[in-house]
């Protein structure tokens, strides 16, 4: 009962944040509602027993990535987005299409999927077990992702620096 109550509470915050992201016109408001979504998702992970994932979710997603977003929004001084005219056909066909698709997905999930209940703290998500898995079975993917991060850092530096600076190359001292 407690599990269901907490799930519904944080799930409601998640959905409200996601809808607010769509409704808001200023990107900074969207970014802050995305932070709310990520923080309540961390609570959902905690309910499932995935403590380490919850901590990483808060630190990496709600912390690092969203700071990067907010920083970019402020750097570019992004204002409210203009309302653009959508075509009437898209609205007439799109809204019933979305409704039908959503109802179908919900119906399929609720009626035909495995309805076994997930108990609270079901996962043995302590860092020791995860570390053993990560550094034994998934060692190669782990190393590959470190290379991926390195390439991403270099790509970000090259892309975000001024074009002339890249063409000129690093400054010489002499």
């Amino acid at each position: 009962m407690l599990h269901l109550t907490l799930f519904l509470f944080f799930g409601a915050i998640c959905v409200a944040g996601a809808v607010n992201l769509l409704v808001q016109r200023h990107p900074i408001n969207s970014a802050l509602s995305l932070v709310a979504v990520m923080a309540s998702l961390a609570a959902e992970y905690l309910l499932l027993g995935a403590e380490f994932v919850a901590a990483v979710q808060v630190i990496v997603y709600a912390g690092a990535i969203m700071v990067l977003f907010v920083f970019t929004i402020m750097l570019l001084n992004a204002g409210e987005e203009e309302r653009s005219k959508g075509s009437r056909v898209a609205i007439l066909l799109g809204i019933p299409g979305v409704a039908i698709g959503g109802v179908l997905v919900a119906w399929t999930l609720l009626r035909h999927s495995n309805t076994a209940a997930v108990p609270m703290f079901a996962l043995p998500g302590d860092p020791r077990a995860i570390a053993r898995l990560l550094f034994h079975d998934f060692l190669l993917p782990f190393e590959v992702t470190s290379i991926l991060i390195l390439i991403a850092i270099m790509g970000a530096v090259v892309l975000a620096s001024k074009p002339e600076a890249v063409a000129r190359g690093p400054k010489r001292e002499d």
């Binding site: 992201l21 992970y45 994932v53 990496v60 990535i65 570019l76 079901a122 996962l123 892309l159 001024k162």
Partner: protein, 100 residues
């Protein structure tokens, strides 16, 4: 005790909101945030299935998704800065030419 399908439904709602935002938003930064929302929805279903099957590998996949999301955010925001520097706009309707 919460049925697994509730978690999957929440994950589906988040993913759907992400898709919808990707399609209807006009600000390039908000579109990028919608992609992050989709990744988060997928992460939730990974963790829910991991809890359902008592398999820790699902959580490892969540880490890899987070790493890819971090790399994607760094590169994507750099691209957004480059686009803004050349076009002076963040509206995707006005960024419709490959060539300047």
């Amino acid at each position: 005790m919460v049925p697994l399908s509730y978690y999957l439904l929440l994950s589906g709602i988040l993913f759907g909101c992400g898709v919808l935002g990707f399609l209807i938003k006009r600000n390039i930064i908000t579109i990028f945030m919608s992609i992050e929302l989709m990744l988060n929805g997928v992460n939730l279903s990974f963790v829910a299935f991991a809890a359902h099957w008592h398999a820790l590998s699902g959580q490892i996949f969540v880490f890899f998704v987070m790493v890819v999301a971090a790399a994607e955010a760094a590169v994507g925001l750099a691209i957004i800065i480059a686009v803004y520097r050349t076009r002076e706009t963040l509206n995707v309707d006005q960024v419709n030419l490959l060539k300047l």
